[in-house]
């Protein structure tokens, strides 16, 4: 049983680490702020969840396990709130998202924000 838990824990940690790097690569590769935000939320949700779940499987005491769960809950609760606040502030300050134009090339939206 403990062998299985150990292997599962390593697998979760490695996948979590790869997801972490993926999120950062997306943060660098994507063309504008709003698309970068989606890359950032990969780090906030699954990467955090997997790494913390991997650590949970190796937790030496119940207290450590409880603290890991608390950290995960904090990150999952605050992540979308911060993301929403950022997106709203950016839109209200006049930052326009890139949207596909007629030719299919991404261009800054000229219509008022919030429109289709």
């Amino acid at each position: 049983m403990s062998i299985v838990a150990t292997y599962l824990s390593w697998a979760l940690l490695v996948i979590g680490g790869l997801l972490c790097i993926s999120g950062s690569v997306g943060l660098l590769r994507f063309p504008d702020f709003f698309t970068r935000m989606h890359a950032a939320s990969v780090t906030d949700t699954l990467a955090t969840g997997m790494i913390l779940a991997g650590l949970m499987l190796q937790a030496p005491t119940w207290i450590v396990l409880a603290k890991l769960i608390m950290i995960l809950v904090f990150v999952l609760l605050t992540g979308p709130t911060a993301g929403h606040a950022l997106a709203k502030a950016a839109l209200h300050s006049g930052l326009k998202p890139l949207l596909p134009g007629k030719s299919g090339v991404l261009e800054a939206d000229t219509k008022p924000s919030g429109g289709v």
């Binding site: 997801l19 993926s22 999120g23 690569v25 997306g26 590769r29 994507f30 063309p31 709003f34 698309t35 935000m37 989606h38 890359a39 939320s41 990969v42 949700t45 699954l46 969840g49 005491t61 207290i63 409880a66 603290k67 608390m70 999952l76 992540g79 979308p80 709130t81 993301g83 929403h84 997106a87 709203k88 839109l91 998202p97 890139l98 949207l99 596909p100 991404l106 939206d109 924000s113 919030g114 429109g115 289709v116």
Partner: protein, 157 residues
């Protein structure tokens, strides 16, 4: 004493006990004092109500979390696939979607669930519509199909 006060008290006691991990008389004393102080302050602030402690959701929320976890994994795989694609060729969209009336707490849960799933972010919520920025147009169609909305609506019942 309201049921919400009791649930907040239980939550605070659990939080204290799990954070300290030391079970000595001094710790019990300090813990009891600080839990009572927080309860007193929050009842004076009048924040102990069904909005901060939505106990009526307790029955249905575990099932919703499981479904949300499944959606999270699916959309994560999609976004990570997009990130590593050699030719990005993105089709982002900013769309206002109509929705039927939801309770206040329902709107918060709905908007936060959309923001939590990678690939979609809520930018604005009003009484009867929700504005979403999506990494790919297909995510917009998924939201418009209304499955998540129906599940949030079922939580209250």
């Amino acid at each position: 004493m309201k049921i919400q006060t009791l649930s907040l008290g239980v939550l605070l006691v659990a939080f204290w006990a799990l954070n300290s991990g030391l079970f000595k008389p001094l710790m019990y004393g300090l813990g009891t004092a600080s839990v009572l102080l927080v309860l007193l302050i929050s009842s004076r602030m009048k924040v102990i109500d069904s909005e901060s402690q939505p106990l009526n959701l307790t029955k249905n929320i575990p099932g919703y979390y499981l479904w949300l976890l499944k959606e999270l994994v699916i959309s994560n795989i999609k976004v990570v696939g997009t990130i590593w694609r050699s030719n990005l060729h993105l089709q982002p969209a900013l769309v206002t979607i109509k929705m039927d009336h939801l309770s206040e707490i329902g709107k918060v849960i709905y908007a936060n669930s959309i923001s939590l799933t990678p690939g979609t972010v809520t930018t604005e919520v009003t009484d009867n519509s929700i504005t979403v920025h999506a990494l790919d147009k297909s995510s917009i169609a998924e939201i418009e199909s209304g499955e998540m909305e129906a599940r949030v609506r079922k939580l209250d019942k």
